[in-house]
Amino acid sequence: MALKNSARLLRNCNTKLNFQVKAALSSEPLFPGAKTTWTETLEFTQTSKPIPVYRVMDRRGNIIRESEDPNLPDGTILKMYKDMTLLSIMDKILYESQRQGRISFYMTNYGEEAAHIGSAAALTNDDVVYGQYREAGVLMWRGFTLECYGNNDDKGKGRQMPVHYGNKELNFVTISSPLTTQLPQAVGAAYALKGKNRIVICYFGDGAASEGDAHAAFNFAATLECPVILFCRNNGYAISTPVEEQYRGDGIAARGPAFGIHTLRVDGNDTFAVYNATKMAKELALKENKPVLIEAMTYRVGDHSTSDDSSAYRSPEEVQSWATNDYPTNKLRYYMEKKGLWDENKEKELLDQARKNVLKAFNAGEKKLKPQWTEMFEDVYKFMPKHIRSQMEEMKAHVEKYKEQYPTNKFTS
């Protein structure tokens, strides 16, 4: 015991001595807050050059530098393209259904298909996803069928608005509407998965990055060395608010280095660029137990949601330009055509089949009953406490007495 104490004393003494010697000899600043150098020139720190956008393909689907072609198997490329196409067909049908009053709400993914599919394809289903709400393509890649009816098949039991997907088997944590809350959660999840050969990817938008939770998440991810990919879909708008009113720095990517996070900025409309970036990010996250920030530059071609009409704040010409010149699915299609993987006939066949499948699933979903209405009282807690049970019993008796006043025929009995 005494020996141990003496050893510690000696060590402390050495440390103190070392520090004093170092302090006396050092010509560098020794402030604990930053490892840096001195200067005698007083000037504002200049912003550095904007971070460039990594791309693999040009607008016409040509590979610009051969070494960057991920050379994916044909089957993978076809699945990417088919999922991206299916996603936009599903968007179209569900958007129209909302207009017809058949579903209450929907959010399209138009223009961001490459960001979803490119990132999803670079991960495995063991990697955990925390989404914001515009990431249906990620789920589609993992094999999820989408829910908009809150019917009996809905894993969320109809409690949330449409598009708040979640799936335990596919490691996709159920979406909640509040923005950015998922970021620090994803970081915590990644910490818990350290050393288990799995990573977490967390999607968020350029608007969400302004919330306090975003800064908390960046800082926790860096200091606690969490294997997480913080994936920003910078689509230019937070509802009506353009990025010029959202931030003044070099986008979201510039914040990465400031937090000590490895950062990549990619063309979010280039499926292969997103794929390469996500793959590299995962490798680093696993190898070094460190976070990576990816900023995927893209454009929200659709309205924010079915409750929004974006013509009130941006020109149809602007939207049209992105929809024609830079549409991610088209870019991939040009590439596939050049490779001889795709042609007009295959396109037609895919569109017909996809439309049929979506409509079939949609119509079947529409006919299904909603869950039992007493499900409303379940899952507030693991075990229903007495006060909730008595409220449920009271309501059951009430509904029994006033049957004709409640839409019980739409719910499972």
């Binding site: 409690r159 306090g212 939770d213 608010t241 009113e245 959202q246 409750s307 009409d309 009130a312």
Partner: protein, 369 residues
């Protein structure tokens, strides 16, 4: 803040009218809106819905107070509920502007503006997304005057936030968070039942020397239409309105629930031959104890109804005070019909709400006790 972006009403084109209506208004509404017909306010009136009345209040505030600023998420193009429509064009983007997407930022910024003596009118896009700003409201806005011995205050801050059920809002576009803020000395909290109240209360809040929160029932933005005075007027904070006099049961509510209760009073008359006194509490903090207790002493029975969950809902505070003040007058235990102690569920909304049938049954129980 979140999907917080769900409900944009764009009236730019008439062609969009149907579309925007379908965007938010429920096909199956749980209430029948009834307009205020007799207003004590004199002068010229104009037919306005609630978002137009709120817009009119802010227009007057901006015009009469050059220091006033309006800010929040998406307020620049008129706000997702159209309350700030046209104001950026009229007063310039230095005074009416979008903020980054950050509720704690919006409220903190507003407190700073108010600290400097300027008027801050902040919008939180949905009441459900006010919680990141909880710290700024509860620990800062509410306590600023107290902790500085009256040297500093944030009285010129007003926060507007939509609240309440809307037919398909689910967990995060339906909540009524008034009780959380009622627990915070230093704040004032009001909830209008329609356009006339919304305008007068908002103008009072903006000019009140203490920080105020106005929760605006989003269901009423379009559904509620009244003849609203076009001029500048204020309605008192802290005072309840007796909307209908009665002798058998006092019905107390606020916001959208007032319209449910007015219909319930009619049902009670026709089905139970009961005479109900309907009171809109209007002001949650401070609340009008005198009006409530006077009514209960007269009717001897009371039903309190709100959309928020039962446990810890503001009805509990009313009930506790009523039993303290009116114990010997009561002929039946105080009844509460409220949302259940669960999150606000999407497809189960028709079963969750304190609808007219649950209220009617409660009145029957009160009378039979």
């Amino acid at each position: 803040m979140a999907l917080n972006k769900v409900c944009s009403f764009c009236m730019k084109k008439v062609a969009n009218e149907n579309r925007t209506l379908s965007g938010l208004l429920s096909k199956r509404t749980h209430f029948i809106y009834s307009a205020d017909e007799n207003t004590s306010v004199k002068g010229e009136t104009k037919k306005m819905n609630m978002f137009q009345a709120i817009n009119s209040a802010m227009d007057i505030a901006m015009n009469s107070d050059k220091s006033a600023l309006i800010f929040g998420e998406d307020v620049g193009f008129g706000g997702v509920f159209r309350c700030t429509m046209g104001l950026r064009d009229k007063y310039g983007k230095e005074r009416v502007f979008n903020t980054p997407l950050c509720e704690q930022g919006i409220v903190g910024f507003g407190i700073g503006v108010a600290n400097m003596g300027a008027t801050a009118i902040a919008e939180i896009q949905f009441g459900d997304y006010i919680f990141p700003a909880f710290d700024q409201l509860v620990n800062e806005a509410a306590k600023c005057r107290y902790r500085s011995g009256g040297t500093f205050d944030s009285g010129k801050l007003t926060v507007r936030a939509p609240c309440g059920a809307v037919g398909h809002g689910g967990l995060y576009h339906s909540q009524s968070p008034e009780a959380y803020f009622a627990h915070t000395p230093g704040l004032k909290v009001v909830i209008p039942r329609g356009p006339i109240k919304a305008k007068g209360l908002l103008l009072s809040c903006i000019r009140e020397p203490d920080p105020c929160i106005v929760f605006e029932p989003k269901c009423l933005y379009r559904a509620a239409v009244e003849e609203v005075p076009v001029g500048d007027y204020q309605l008192p904070l802290g005072r309840a309105d007796i909307l209908q006099e009665g002798t058998d049961v006092t019905l107390i509510g606020w916001g959208t629930q007032i319209h449910v209760l007015k219909e319930v009073a009619q049902l009670a008359k026709s089905k139970l031959n009961a005479s109900c006194e309907v009171i809109d509490l209007v002001s949650i903090l401070p609340w009008d104890k005198d009006t409530i207790c006077e009514s209960v002493k007269k009717t001897k029975r009371v039903l309190i109804s709100h959309e928020a969950p039962l446990t810890g809902g503001f009805g509990a505070e009313l009930a506790a005070t009523i039993q303290e003040e009116c114990f010997l007058h009561l002929e039946a235990p105080i009844a509460r019909v409220t949302g259940f102690d669960t999150p606000f569920p999407h497809v189960f909304e028709p079963f969750y709400l304190p609808d007219k049938w649950r209220c009617l049954q409660a009145i029957q129980n009160l009378l039979k006790y």
